[in-house]
């Protein structure tokens, strides 16, 4: 206990690692090292997160009072549109795969890099090109259709910059496709000897499932954007009912990607939670095979439920019934995961470090988000709450309460590996608590607002909704503080944090068998895997004559 290890004098000679091997802007902008590209992504998505957060702040400020006093209706339309587009396409979708996935997929399977390092760099540049286009679009007028850009409003009526925003999303989409392609090939072809499919960490299974959605879903939104752009510029009539076209076709094509896109956000987060819960309960994950397969089945079922976004749009009752049933079916693999995580906790020796707090937050919030999703999959209730704040609250519980909590948990869990430094644990626990409280305060009132009938996407509302809206705005402020804190102490720790040991959590997994931070090629020599995933019982068994 009282083993204060005598620190070597300040400025020890640093080992060569991926961060200090080369210096200079060029060594970053032209790098093909997956770890450096991951950090490039980290900086870019954090930038866009704060842009999207700024729009969210403006929305919440406007909704503080029933009257439309901060912005005009047109501006408000742009605010929620840009909030959605930035957060979905430029933050949530790349967040976990492109940052943590990029960093960890090769390390977890014992590879030196992704299969196509140059394509990996290309995907970051595509993301940046898309991002610059999006910024330009926002600064020169923005878009006011909602992130869904439904036709014919988007093609025949609005005067805002649909084509440019579409192009930005189109380009960023190819970045996402290339990341998914890289992951699939890497997981198939680059595994170290002994790293069989049944020994893969669940983080890898989750990213495999995510990649399937990225490569099969994203091209559909790409072609849909092409059609919208062509229709808008040339008035062809493909989606215009006046010319014989069908706006519902647009909605089908749009949601064919955009519903599975939700699983692009949540599946990697589930992968992170599996890693964290196993590590901080010191147990093998309960039902490994079921958790692995449930990721794949979420990806498969996720492609078959898109029309539940269209129950009131005029699709046939029979189609609605089938899509309702299939939407319920997605709940099965999701529940399998939640129950298996819970069973993993059972009789585990649980530690409440910051990553685990985020994982617990994920469990609670994802469960609420998932269960309210079942309300929405039910045809009768959906008619009542379509386009109300109930829907807004539901998908924020999944995307923010689920995906973002997992992302933050993962950032804390792997930060010592990424940066080679330890973050201040007590601040991190405090931040996790603030995020959890702020999140619930922001979004739980919105369930009630929605159920009482407050529609989404309006900048004014009747005075009786004010109390709940004030609660929500107050919560958003707390949440904002909760998000700023980790950014501050992560940056702080890069300079002042204690040097991290190679395996600060005593975690299983190949990535922890590398130095912190890792060397450029990750492993001194190709690792050979002879153990099962999450062998915590073995790790914690008393070592002969050793202690940690």
């Amino acid at each position: 206990m009282a083993t204060t290890i005598a620190q070597p004098p300040a400025q020890p000679i640093e080992r060569e690692n991926y961060l200090n091997k080369h210096y200079g802007v060029g060594s970053w902008l032209l790098t093909t090292d997956h770890k450096r590209i991951s950090l490039l992504y980290l900086m870019s998505i954090t930038f866009f997160f704060f842009i999207g957060g700024f729009f969210a702040l403006m929305i919440r400020l406007e909704l503080l009072t029933p009257a439309g006093d901060l912005v005009q209706a047109d501006t408000y339309n742009k605010l929620f549109t840009m909030h959605g587009m930035v957060m979905i396409f430029f933050f949530l979708i790349p967040s976990i795969p492109a940052v943590l996935g990029n960093f960890l997929v090769p390390m977890m399977i014992g590879a030196k890099d992704l299969a196509f390092p140059r394509i990996n760099l290309l995907s970051w540049y595509l993301y940046i090109i898309g991002g610059v286009l999006m910024l330009h679009c926002m600064l020169t007028g923005g878009v006011d259709t909602g992130w869904t850009f439904y036709t014919p409003f988007s093609t025949a009526f609005t005067n805002t910059k649909i084509v440019e925003a579409g192009l930005a999303i189109f380009v960023a989409g190819f970045s996402s496709i290339l990341t998914g392609l890289n992951f699939i090939v890497t997981i198939h072809r680059m595994r170290a000897p002994g790293m069989t499919w049944s020994r893969l960490p669940l983080f890898i299974w989750a990213h495999y499932a995510t990649s399937i959605i990225q490569i099969l879903g994203t091209p559909v939104i790409a072609i849909t954007i092409v059609l919208v752009a062509v229709e808008r510029t040339l008035h062809l009539g493909i989606f215009d009912p006046k010319l014989g076209g069908d706006p519902l076709l647009f909605q089908h094509l749009f949601w064919f990607y955009s519903h599975p896109a939700v699983y692009i956000m949540i599946l990697p987060s589930m992968g992170i939670v599996s890693e964290i819960i196993a590590c901080f309960s010191r147990k093998r994950i309960f039902g490994y095979g079921f958790v692995a397969i449930s990721s794949i089945s979420i990806a498969v079922f996720g492609f078959l439920v898109w029309a539940h976004h269209m129950f009131v749009a005029g699709i046939s009752v029979y189609a609605a019934l089938i899509f309702s049933l299939l939407s319920y079916a997605v709940a099965v693999p999701s529940a399998v995961k939640v129950f298996n995580w819970t069973a993993t906790l059972y009789k585990g020796s649980i530690r409440y470090d910051a990553p685990m707090l985020y994982a617990f937050g994920f469990l609670g919030l994802f469960t609420i988000g998932g269960l309210t999703g079942l309300f929405l999959a039910a045809l009768g209730i959906d008619v009542h709450v379509t386009d109300t704040y109930f829907v807004v609250a539901h998908f924020h519980y999944i995307m923010v309460g689920g995906a973002l909590m997992g992302y933050l948990g993962g950032m804390h869990f792997w930060w010592p590996k990424i940066s080679g430094r330890l973050y201040p644990e007590s601040w991190a626990r405090l931040a996790a608590l603030i995020v959890f409280i702020g999140f619930n305060l922001t979004f739980f009132p919105q369930f009630i607002l929605g159920y009482l009938g407050m529609p989404r996407r309006y900048y004014q509302y009747p005075p009786e909704f004010q109390v709940l809206n004030v609660l929500s705005t107050a919560g958003a402020t707390v949440l904002g503080v909760g998000y700023l804190l980790p950014m501050i102490y992560f940056l702080w720790s890069m300079r002042y944090g204690k040097p991290a040991p190679d395996n600060p959590w005593n975690a299983a997994g190949l990535e922890w068998k590398t130095p912190s931070p890792p060397t450029t090629y990750n492993f001194e020599q190709e690792p050979v895997v002879t153990w099962e995933a999450y062998n915590y019982e073995e790790l914690d068994a008393p070592q002969p004559g050793g202690s940690h």
Binding site: A111, K112, D113, L114, A115, F116, P117, I119, I177, L181, N182, I184, V185, H188, R189, M190, I215, L216, G217, T218, P219, V220, A222, I223, T224, V226, L227, V230, E231, L234, H235, L236, G237, I238, L243, G244, G245, D246, L249, L253, F256, Y521, E526
Partner: protein, 223 residues
């Protein structure tokens, strides 16, 4: 023997080749979904407005389209022969086959351009100047096709064939690069992965055309 083309993060040449091939196949799956959205839109409107689509279909030149189909099938053959030439270390044949493939590709685009020009002259390009008046529906000589619905056909025709042509142009770029690599003697019986995956791409673009041709040109044609 040390292969300069073996990248640092691969253990063996076989692993590198397998990765490249798998990567290309996955990219093609992406492409299938990309074109799939268009095929889906096409099939829905074709079912709704069959007569109008059939009438519009008769106005495009099936002979030129058929010729182009033959041209592309020939180009696929030359691609396969190019790969065979690389496998059997016949550099001369490899260069000839690559050049032939590119000639077929350019021929296809030339014929396509001619078709587009005809459509432009006939005011069949969707937009303000579009006109498709008094064209009877095949099999129903007294009924005229609805110009609005015919416009949807032409919109899809131009988007689908246009996107296909764009893929052909990219393919020509890839093959120009392959030709340059082959000229420098980079391909050996042991290492010709770029030829294989470039060939996969080329075949894929051909197959898209094999579907486009009957769907667009031969809807309800009777000799």
């Amino acid at each position: 023997m040390d292969n300069p083309a073996l990248l640092h993060h691969f253990a063996t040449e076989e692993q590198q080749r397998d990765s490249a091939n798998l990567g290309m196949w996955i990219f093609l799956a992406t492409e299938v979904m990309f074109f799939g959205g268009l095929f889906c839109a096409y099939l829905i409107y074709r079912r709704w407005y069959f007569g109008d689509f059939a009438a519009a279909s008769t106005s495009i030149d099936a002979f030129l389209g058929g010729t182009n189909t033959a041209v592309l099938i020939c180009s696929s053959l030359t691609v396969v022969l190019a790969i065979w030439a690389a496998q059997t270390a016949r550099r001369g044949l490899l260069l000839v086959m690559l050049v032939l493939t590119m000639i077929f590709g350019v021929t296809f685009l030339g014929i396509k351009a001619k078709e587009y020009k005809d459509k432009f002259d006939e005011h069949h390009v969707p937009g303000a100047s579009f006109s498709f008046e008094h064209v009877p529906i095949p099999g129903h000589p007294l009924e005229y096709a609805d110009p609005k619905h015919a416009q949807i056909f032409f919109a899809l025709y131009f988007v689908m064939t246009g996107l296909h042509a764009l893929h052909m142009i990219i393919g020509l770029g890839i093959f120009a690069w392959l030709l340059w690599m082959a000229w420098k003697g980079r391909f050996t019986p042991e290492y010709h992965t770029p030829l294989e995956i470039g060939g996969l791409y080329w075949h894929f673009v051909d197959i898209i055309w094999i579907y486009l041709f009957p769907l667009l040109y031969l809807i309800d044609r009777h000799p």
